[in-house]
Structure formats: structure tokens, C-alpha cells
Symmetry: C3
Subunit: 309 residues, 3 copies
């Protein structure tokens, strides 16, 4: 991939050496992300953060990445209250915003919408999540976290647990992991299984994966990485069923300690109660560090698409 | 007009050489607006963008203009959810905001409200649209666009089409064009005619204008500039009437090609369906360039009122 | 108090020499607050302004303070529309935001909530108002204003008038004034008296105070400072009672002139009609200057907690 000027729409478009490049540049961004050093490589550049649905976490992470590299930000925190939505096509909006900014980070509830704006805008558009579609920067920061916590990606056994059906994050991550020699375990209630199209993709790429339903057993089996996701009430017709399943997929300290001692515990946050707070004290509870890695990875992407990495 | 420290409330206050000055300074701002050069002439200055009704387009244009000149921005994207509206007078709000910012850009749904804040604030206040009142920066960027596209303003025949009754943009523009030797053609449904007070102003200034109702005929007559505006459903009591008229005033490529080859096609955006997308490919479709010119013109105004042009 | 890295949660935690330090540093910040000089002592630092309820005034004051010292800002103007509120604990939010910013200014409708976030975040958290709880930066700017207007604090007679029950501002102020040799007069309707816990605190500290109900008499008695607060309709069950009392506590020019000639008139703003606009012209009407002092005081606090004062 030629990063300069590129749109970052989907993890499906990343080859292994694209992923490696992002992780390498992100590594160089760490001193700036962690506030130890100042940078102004993006001086004079403007990021437009266009959020058609609010996602404060992702927005602040992008804005911080831009500011810590010396750039500036214009922002629309909640586009639904914006005149931009009054009938104009996303293509036209892209044509307009390209006059203001040098790069766009965009979140939208509808799949494909980010691509539509990217077609209008002559500047790089980064997908910050488009509904059930993709969330490439989250997947890249997840990869970076796995690499940083485990020292490698090839050879790992990675379990994804919880709601694998609606969890856009784990889908995006699978497309990236498909370039590595990993073993994947999908553990979820039968109502919330990993979608067929993701499984088909993995098969085609020759990635080994197994489907499980017993959360506790998977942990005990000695996985290297446990990626937890939240099971949302609104996915179930029957509240009883929800409550039963929810409880099964809660990770607490006692359960975590039945796993491998070096098992990296991940979560895209926010967590509600699917990971108990007593897990926080474990050295391998990586979810807060994972959030921090998001700044370095987004710095890397911004620098790359602006040709300043 | 002495620009330094001035409030920019209405285009009625502009003399011909004020307009010329803004266009001249805007021309010098082009390399910075188009991202080719960096400037920090407004370093240490703060713009307060106070939007009592959301107008993402105008807000981002002002903020970009400020940031690209090295200034900084504090912003209230949607004042209705703000404590500022809890009963305080705009005069008092002005007294407060002058402590924070060096210049204010303000949008408000009520005519005259920007003037009220300007009376309280000792710093420059720029009207970013006050209801059915004025939108001077839009009119100035329209002038700049006409000049840039046509190379001159004197001698041109300029048609304004669509909703001329509620279109604050075309009213503000008429007050500026009145200082030039132009011929104006107003073409609209009879329900949406140019208001009497604007026509009276033009008569007093000796500007030639005619009122037409046949959109197609006006295009064919060979106008130099065609300024389209949107006809909004909510202006009509009768939906049938609306649908009939709307269709008549749609510009498509076929219709556009019946006009003068050099006819500049303008629109303040957003366009919904009043200009078909097949018009976009015409070289003289200027509406996206027009949006871009907004940054240079707002840069010019900010620099002028802050005494840094 | 060691300011560097400290959380600024409550004025109760301030000793006399902490207050003096903030006022001293705020004094040095005046040339930057008043736009006469540029500073970049906070270059590379980021303030996260997290407003769980909108308070445009306080937010813009904090953001201005940060920008005028060369820092940058990420902002959530109205958190209720934010995903941050979807069930995540404030502790977790703090853990996340510390990855982005160097300091947090937070407003929340619930007392104690700012403390909860401060426990999660390893960076300094400044309370920008937590419901009926504390508003320490307002109290500090009030102290600064009294000192600046009167040249001293020890020896003054200070009256607080209006709604003393729900007025978080006057509570926070009392905790600071308790470190000085002042005489306090509380004048309010009997339904809106200063709470017992504040009075008990003052007694324990040996601060002289009296409780009055006749507003006019208190003014005539020759107080040095008159701090007015708004009486809100929603505090009364009976509208008639509200209207009667409201009228009694309105300050107009005529009434103000019955006081000491040097009586400093203060108000946290916004004022609705509890201070008539004819008071504005009095030299000792200090409320607009008071708002301006907020920038210098917040600059001082930001610089102090970031170790750059």
C-alpha cells in the first residue's frame, strides 16, 4: 500500500508488510504519545474529526494524536445536530471538507458511508468506525498491543470471547491476523457466533480456527491472548437468556488465574461488568495499555497518510 | 471602513473600496488557504466561534481560516444546549466572551442578535448569519468567486434563481453588487420573489435589474453568472405547487449547456437536488471552488479586523 | 499543598498560603490573560475539558487559559450525548483520558463524581463544578477579585446575598475566606439560608458571621463587598412567594448608591435581572472584571498543577 494520500477504509486492504509498517512507525511514535517528547512533524496540517455518531473515546484519541504531532483539529462531535445532514450527499460533504482539512477521521452509523465520503474528498479519509462495518484503527492498535505484550504475533493462540456476531472490532482484527501464523479460538453463545463471511475469509487464507462455547474451558486451555467483548442486552429477545449468558462470559480474577500466567487480557473498552475490576491489578490485564496504544497507532496512520512518517 | 477592530455585521455597510480591499487581501491569502504555504500572522489570537444554531459548514470554514493563519479557536458548536442561553442577554454574553477571545464569529437564528452582542463586546464581532438577516461573509466570498471566475465584476449580467424571498445569501450579495456596474436578473416563482426592500435599494443605487419567471429562458439569454438557490418545501402551503415549481428550477447538464459557454454556475451549498450531479463535470460549475474561496475570504476578514492584514 | 500533579477538588483543602500562592501566580499571569503578552510555557501540554453538563462560560474560560499559555485542548462540550456515559465508571474514564491529556477540567451534575475520576486518572483533575458540591476555581477567582478590587482581604466585611442554600459558589468561597480575618454577613430569604455545615465550619475556624434577612439594611450598613446570587424560581413551591422575594433581592443603581462608595459589587454571572443594568456603569460594579479574572486564575492553576508556574 502506498500510504501517502491513501484512504484507510478497511483492514481487508492491508497486506502483512502494511501492518508491519504501521506497527514500526507506531513504535517510533511512542515517546510522543507518552508525552515524554514533543513533535511538530504535522505542523500546519489540519485533521477534520467528523463524527456522525458520538464516540468520544475514538474522537479524543484521534485529536490527541494530531495535536501531539503539532497538527490542529476541527471537529464535529455529534453530526446529527449538524446542518451537514440536511440532505447533502456524503460525496458533496467530502468535496467541501477537503477545502478545510488535510485529513479526515470519520465515524458513521451506516456501513459504506465512509467510502462514500472518501470518493468525494481528494484528501485521505480514515474510517473511525462505520456501523457494523469496519474499525481499522482499532484493529491496528489491537495488533500493536498483542505484539507489544507478547513480543510477537506468529505462533500465538488467540481467543476472542463474547459477542462475536455484532463486534465489529473482532471482525476487523481477524482480517489482520489472517496474515500471521496464529491459531484462533472463537468462544461465544450460539446466538452471537462469528459471522460466516469472516470464517470463510480465514479458511481461504489458511488460518486455523476453532469454535467453542465453554468460556472457562478455553481460558484453562492455555491461550496466549484473551480478547473479551461485551454481550449487549439488546441482542436478545429473551431477557432471561441474556442474563444467563452474560454471567457465563464474565471474566473475574479467579477465572483469569486459571489461564496461562502470561495470558494477555484485552478489551476495546468501555467495559461495563464483563471484566470485574479485580482483574485490573493483574500484570497481564492489558486493556488500559491497549487504549494508550491507540494514540501511537493513530499518530502513525496520520503521519503515514500525510507523507510525514 | 476602518477594518481594525470593526464589527462585520452587514454588507450594507461596505463601500466599493471596502469590498475591493477584502478581495485584494483574500487574494494574498490564497497560498495559505490552499495549504501550499504556512502562516502565523494571527499567532496568539483566539477566535470564539459562537453558533446559536448549528452551521457546520460556516463554522469549520471560519475555524480553518483562523488555524491556517496560526490562531487558535474556542468553539460552541450548538449554543441551544448551552448555559449561555439561560436568560442572559447577548450584551452580557459579549461582555464575557471579550475576556476570552480576540474576535467572535457568531451565527444566530434571530435577526439583529449579532448586533446586540457586538454592542456588549469590545472586540470585533463577525456576523456568520443572523436568521433572515445578513450573511456578509457568504456574500463577500460570492463576490470573490465571481471576480475570480469571470476576471471582473463590472459589465456582467448576473442571474439569481430559485427562492429569492427567504434566501438571505442573495440579499446580502445584492447589497454588494449595487456598487458595481452589473445587470441583475431575478428569476423565481411568484411566491418567492426578491423582497421589495432589496429592489428599492437597487433602484436607489441605479442598478439595472429585471424580474423574470422563466428559468430556461433566462439561461438561454446568455447570462454571465447563474446563482442557484434551493426552493424549500416548507415555504409552500400546497405540496403539489411545491413539487411543480421545484422541478422547473432544477439545473441539469442539458439545461446548463443551453447557456453561455462561460456561464459561471454558483450555489451556496448544500445543494440537494436543485443542481443535478451531472453538472459537476462542467468546467464552469464553480460551486465547490466557491466553498473553497470561503476560507481565503474569511482569512482576509479575520486578518483585517485584527489589524494583521 | 504540593501543586504539581495535585487534584484540585475542593476549596476545603486549601491552606492560607496555598490561596496566596494561587493569587500570586495569577497576578503574574495577567499580562497573558489580558492579551498583552504571549506565553508558551504550556507548549506540548493538552487539557481535556470534560463537561458532563454544559457550562459554556466555565469551559471557554478554561480553554482560553490553556491556549493563552501555549497549550492545546481536547473537549467534550456536552457529555450526556457521549458514549462515555454508557455505563463505564468514571474511574475507567479517568484511566482512559490520562492517555490523551496532561490535565483534566471536569464538570459534572453529581457531587463526588470529580473525585471518582481523579482516583482513576494519574494526571491532575481540576473540579470545574460538581453539582451542589464544589466549584473551587470560581471561589479562587472570587478571592482574587476581592483582593484586586479592595487591595486586601483581611479586615473586610463581606455580605453574601440571595440564594445561599443552593449557591455552590458562595459555599466554596466561605471555605477560602475562613483563612482570613473577615466579617461575613449572610442575607437571604429564610428558605434559602446558608447551610448548617458551612456555618459550623466557620464557627470552628473562628470566623465572625451574622445572618440577616433585610437586604437594603445590609447594603446601608456599609459592607466592603456585596456578593449577589440569583434566586431561582424552581427553588420555591409557591410562585407568589418567589416573585415577592425575588423583587426584594434585586440590586439596582439607586439601592447600590445607599452603600459604601467603595463597595465592590460581585456576581458569578450569568445575571438575569437580580442586578439591574443601570448598576453596570458604577465604577465598583466588578462582575465583568470578575469574569475576566477567571482566565488569569485558571492559567495559574493549570501552570501550577503542570509544574510550570
Amino acid at each position: 500500500m502506498k500510504f501517502k494520500g491513501a484512504d484507510i477504509l478497511s483492514t481487508k486492504l492491508f497486506a502483512r508488510n502494511d501492518i508491519e509498517k504501521v506497527m514500526r512507525v507506531a513504535g517510533r511514535m511512542e515517546p510522543f504519545a507518552s508525552k515524554r517528547k514533543l513533535s511538530d512533524i504535522l505542523q500546519g496540517k489540519i485533521l477534520a474529526a467528523l463524527f456522525y455518531e458520538p464516540s468520544t473515546r475514538t474522537r479524543l484519541s484521534f485529536e490527541t494524536a494530531m495535536l501531539r504531532l503539532g497538527g490542529r483539529v476541527i471537529t464535529v462531535p455529534a453530526m446529527e445536530t449538524s446542518s451537514l445532514t440536511k440532505g447533502e450527499t456524503l460525496f458533496d460533504t467530502g468535496k467541501m471538507v477537503q477545502n478545510y482539512a488535510d485529513v479526515i477521521a470519520m465515524r458513521h452509523p451506516k456501513e459504506g458511508s465512509v467510502t462514500e465520503m472518501a470518493e468525494g474528498a481528494d484528501i485521505s479519509v480514515i474510517n473511525a468506525g462505520d456501523g457494523p462495518g469496519q474499525h481499522p484503527t482499532q484493529a491496528l492498535l489491537d495488533m500493536y498491543t498483542i505484539r507489544k505484550e507478547q513480543g510477537k504475533i506468529d505462533g500465538l493462540t488467540i481467543a476472542m470471547a463474547g459477542d462475536l456476531k455484532f463486534g465489529r472490532t473482532v471482525h476487523s482484527l481477524c482480517y489482520l491476523l489472517a496474515h500471521y501464523k496464529v491459531k484462533l479460538i472463537f468462544v461465544s453463545p450460539k446466538e452471537l457466533k462469528m459471522p460466516v463471511n469472516v470464517c470463510e475469509f480465514l479458511k481461504k487464507k489458511g488460518v486455523k480456527f476453532s469454535v467453542e462455547s465453554d468460556f472457562d474451558k478455553v481460558i484453562k486451555s492455555g491461550v496466549d491472548v484473551l480478547y473479551c467483548t461485551r454481550i449487549q442486552k439488546e441482542r436478545f429477545e429473551n431477557e432471561k437468556e441474556y442474563l444467563k449468558l452474560k454471567g457465563v462470559f464474565v471474566l473475574n480474577k479467579k477465572k483469569a488465574l486459571t489461564g496461562k500466567k502470561t495470558m494477555t487480557i484485552m478489551h476495546a473498552l468501555p467495559r461495563i461488568d464483563e471484566i470485574a475490576t479485580d482483574v485490573d491489578s493483574l500484570q497481564n490485564a492489558a486493556y488500559f495499555r491497549q487504549a494508550r496504544n491507540g494514540v501511537a497507532v493513530r499518530m502513525a496512520l496520520l503521519a503515514l497518510v500525510l507523507g510525514k512518517a
